[in-house]
Subunit: 310 residues, 2 copies
Amino acid sequence: MPVFTAAANRPAARAALILALATLAPGAAAAPAAKPTLADVIKGSQPSDWRPLDPDNTLYLEIPAGRVVIEMAPAFAPRHVANIKALVREHYFDGLAILRAQDNWVVQWGDPDEKNPKPMTTAQRTLPGEFTVPLKGAGKFTRLPDRDGYAPQVGHSNGFASARDPKTGAAWLTHCYGTVGVGRDNASDSGGGAELYAVIGHAPRHLDRNITVVGRVVAGMPLLATLPRGTAPMGFYAKPEQNVPIASVRLAADVAPAERSNLELMRTDTATYQAAVEAQRNRGGPWNKVAAGHIELCNAPLPVRERARD
Amino acid sequence: MPVFTAAANRPAARAALILALATLAPGAAAAPAAKPTLADVIKGSQPSDWRPLDPDNTLYLEIPAGRVVIEMAPAFAPRHVANIKALVREHYFDGLAILRAQDNWVVQWGDPDEKNPKPMTTAQRTLPGEFTVPLKGAGKFTRLPDRDGYAPQVGHSNGFASARDPKTGAAWLTHCYGTVGVGRDNASDSGGGAELYAVIGHAPRHLDRNITVVGRVVAGMPLLATLPRGTAPMGFYAKPEQNVPIASVRLAADVAPAERSNLELMRTDTATYQAAVEAQRNRGGPWNKVAAGHIELCNAPLPVRERARD
């Protein structure tokens, strides 16, 4: 069947198929070396090119369809990440629900009613927005050479898609597919982490610097992206019984090691990662006819894979 | 509840809510005029700012969840559009299925088996790829001033997101959320329209100029985007019983008028459309704190609404 094999150049799961396409025919040694694909880069990577998730900054959102794994970025939203951890440790989200799913936009979960919120014991209801942070506190930045319409510089900071403006001295996490942020009302300081959203569509980069981004989904996006879309305004579910119940949200550090998701992520500050991006920027393989010569930040791959058990 | 009202600045469906936010408080007449939102622009539009769908270039893909409406672009893929119409008129797709749903990528439907395809009577199995067309045949182009990483010029042609390169004299439709294209194998001329895909994730712009784009979904994207993701390589459904059956694909012109979807689209060659884009590029309203000052092609709104019955 015509398998539309461009898709094979997406993430690591299709490695076998990509490799089949990229493999040189026997006797082809005299031909030019095939351009490496992302799968080739992953296959040739070293253990040091990967990092495990930090259990102290990893959330498990458990819904009926399964587990969504979220990596948090304390370097970009220290107060909100600490507050979300406090909420999680008081089991704040358990028994709440996903309330909203708006097509090509976001799913949103947590506290359903600002006027009659679920009581908190240790966490704070609201915090000042952490929309940007000073460059110097944002950690190591690996810049993409590709130009971006929304920010002077884009790239990755500790594995998170991010942007910077040297003129203002600000850095921020960008909104890509899977980005997780903190819902708020009109006031900048009206959110605190009791309502969170994840992007399920085309990158809404205009939200950058307007809202506190706390991390990104590293596994389980299909569980969120396939949720029925809500029919009330803004994609809220029209009836309470349509809400998607949250069994629990836990910090990985509070989960028994045997029950943790055992994932590792490609480090974004390595030569291997640069090769991975280049393999997507100018794709090889027999399917591709025209190389893009460019990669948009939110199309840069962030490979995730199962980690070998110790 | 903190409703994360940035979302209200998305398409027309949230008009009432957006207007509520944009309305000046009583007695605020002396204040600067509020920046118009997209909803304001739509509200102030004239009938001449809108166009109906052309029934001769509109497809209805009927699946169990409902109807997906696809507008085809014969100016960019004349032979493929004609061939798809031939396929539809021989009821080629009826009884076939959606075979593939890959997260943040595409859904794909149609002929399941290249080696043992469903017989065709009037249509052609394969055609030369129509990856680009000469500028002069691409119709009126309304350029966006916003820079783009993938193409020298981007904007809209007859309502379709498109790109152009004056140096090569080529124009092409771009891959955005909802774009519909023709699956193919490695050879450029290995597709014909019996397998089609729609983008359900972040814009895969690197596919531009590599594959024949025939149109875009104008209504029903949630029906495709919420389909269960396939677990076989590349998101194909692992078992035939997981396939999503297609009841029929029809050309709107072949459907009784009373049963047609009665939609109209904002014309992209009008001052009103420019205002609509600007309302998204630099958003007003009390929620937004920092204006993006830029809009990425695939974030430019393409308003669709129910048309008043004659």
